[in-house]
């Protein structure tokens, strides 16, 4: 037998990959032997043709039955069904996709799976897909908008039917690849691109309004904020929403009570240290995400400021951790399950040639736990002018 170019290349790959595996205690077997083992003794491939033969019909009829086309006689359907069951035949998805041009796979791109914000979103998306017998291919950009390019390209190469880009930052360039390939896309909360691409908006302001209602009802007037970096547009959006809510409640914005963190625990801690150093101090602080709220909690604790007795803290997102820290964190819940559902629905519509232009925004809601309480004593609103503007 000739040693052919093809086999040579394959052999090379095998060797390379084996070398990569160093730790396990393993041994190579006769490669050809074990391969034929895996294929089994099956002399005939398990075709639609085999099924057809068994049911004594043509492949076309089998296909029709399997795809639920009307116009096949009852009795024939039954015969085919039985043959399929007996041989437990599953159609080859590649052949099918090749012919039909659809894969029944959706891409899901998130920023970072280690960010506790995302699992619920992924979970919700996957549940919906699963119900529709759609498979989910997923990756993350690790917050790098440039990596989005790669992610999208990979998905297009796999010819997914549609892509949900659920990252906080989006590089428009990357989206064009998808458009060029004719793959529908949906974004999460990207107002700037909403005109060009379907988008699922979240109205941060609604959440902050509820949070402020709650704090004001408790008697707070001096409210600080822990913002995220200006480079993240979700963070900017949240800060603006906070300010707007503040004003619409007739309080004015004190810039010294706005500290900035990195959206992580560490950043929340240092931001809170700054706020604690203010004189006068705010009596309540809202953080633009829960991780920073947790950091804030730690800083307060370190400074022997008791939460919620001396200071109220509200987070944003309602990640699982929020309920686990001490005290359990009151927080504005980001409706990410609903976001996932909307995104999924959008994609399905896009695939049907329906154009989705204006999604009504989803509303975050306050979840009250134990990190909020009335301010100490009878605290006069020292600074807030308290004029009711709106």
């Amino acid at each position: 037998m000739l040693f052919r170019a093809g086999s040579a290349a394959r052999a090379y790959n095998v060797a390379k990959n084996q070398a990569a595996f160093t730790e396990a205690n393993c041994h190579a077997e006769n490669c050809a032997g074990s391969q034929s083992d895996r294929k089994g003794p099956a002399p005939v491939a398990m075709d639609i043709l085999q099924v057809a033969k068994r049911a004594k019909v043509s492949t076309a009829t089998v296909s029709r039955v399997l795809n639920g086309f009307p116009g096949v006689r009852e009795a024939t359907v039954a015969r085919v069904r039985r043959a399929v069951a007996e041989m437990n035949y599953v159609p080859n998805p590649n052949a099918r996709s090749l012919r039909v041009g659809r894969t029944r796979m959706f891409g899901l791109i998130i920023s970072d799976i280690n960010n506790p914000f995302f699992p619920e979103l992924v979970d919700a998306f996957e549940a919906l897909a699963s119900a529709e017998k759609i498979e989910v291919l997923f990756t993350h950009t690790n917050y790098d908008p440039r990596r989005l390019h790669n992610c999208i390209r990979r998905m297009i190469e796999r010819s997914v039917d549609a892509i949900a880009v659920m990252t906080s930052e989006v590089d428009e360039q990357a989206l064009q690849d998808a458009t060029k390939a004719g793959v529908p896309v949906v974004l999460m909360n990207q107002r700037k691109l909403a005109a060009k691409y379907p988008n699922v908006p979240v109205e941060y302001a609604a959440g902050f309004r509820e949070a402020l209602d709650h704090l004001l009802a408790l008697g707070h007037r001096d409210i600080g904020f822990i913002a995220g970096p200006e480079t993240l547009n979700s963070a900017v959006g949240r800060k603006e929403a906070f300010k707007t809510a503040l004003r619409s409640h007739g309080l004015h914005v004190r810039t010294e009570w706005i500290a900035t963190g990195d959206m992580r625990v560490e950043g929340g801690r240092t931001a809170m240290e700054k706020l604690l150093a203010c004189n006068p101090r705010p009596t309540a602080v809202i953080a633009s995400n829960d991780l920073m709220a947790v950091g804030a909690l730690q800083a307060a604790h370190a400074a022997h400021v008791s939460v919620p007795k001396h200071l109220s803290i509200i987070g944003f997102d309602d990640i699982p951790i929020a309920a686990m820290v001490h005290p359990p964190l009151s927080t504005i819940r980001h409706p990410r399950r609903e976001v996932a559902a909307r995104a999924f629905a959008c994609l399905q519509l896009s695939l049907q040639g329906v154009k989705v232009d204006a999604n009504p925004p989803l509303q975050p809601h306050l979840v009250i736990r134990n990190s909020t309480a009335p301010p100490l004593g009878v605290k006069r609103a020292r600074s807030g002018k308290h004029q009711v503007t709106s």
Copy 2:
């Protein structure tokens, strides 16, 4: 034009799906029109044939270049490469998989993506796959071993090349489907099935040994344990490992100091309440996972038992939350990134016809944070006989 059966069926599906979408503000367009829009004005499909023509070679040569087969003249390679780039051609993965029989997709099945234990594992697995240009299809069983069946079947239907079953509970029946279909599988820490299937074991005992070393060094002798339910074999394994470690350090097992929880925060809290009610109390408690350790922390706090001053607590897993609670939790880190890497490597080997029988077990290690300290005062070992057995 005849109204054919096929189109009728499709129309039905479209209608059904549209009805499912209720909330978004959307309007249907001329369906046929928008579909042809999506396909674009492209009169010729973007084949390998087009590339071949452009490069003035045959499709075979293009394929050879693309797959890095040796024996193509330098100049030809360049010409093909250029043509590919100019037309930015990407091969159709379905056609390729159809022909080759491999999809370069791995399945990854976990218990629950909302469980903070898993994201890192998924992340690690995905990173490795991505580096090998393998795509990951993933789903979760939601702790229901019966759902594993469905998960595996779905993956087989998608003809993934291999499946990593990273759930704590495994239904052997389900695995047989994979075996029957010739799809390699790898399990996580399933000793019982290790003989039949490749398995990545984790040696819990090593972690507990380190934890006990640490506690003993601090002066603790009275050590309690929060176990998981007997129905979970990972929980049973951890309890056994704890007992073994205790004995090998010459301490004896006091059953009243072993409480059982549900592996969640709530269960940890109630378990700890029981331990706190003991007289005498243990001076240190190890929980079989971090979530229960967090619950334990809460219970201690509620009972005004200060951690680590009055009580030391050690968790297991090292989920992100462990570092965020107060005090930051000392915990035994489950090497899940390494597990993912091992699993991935195993699958690749299996695909190459290499049989992996005995994977050396991975070792968890103690991560010391702030939930452990010496016991209060000069605490005599009231109960532990302290005979050095081993």
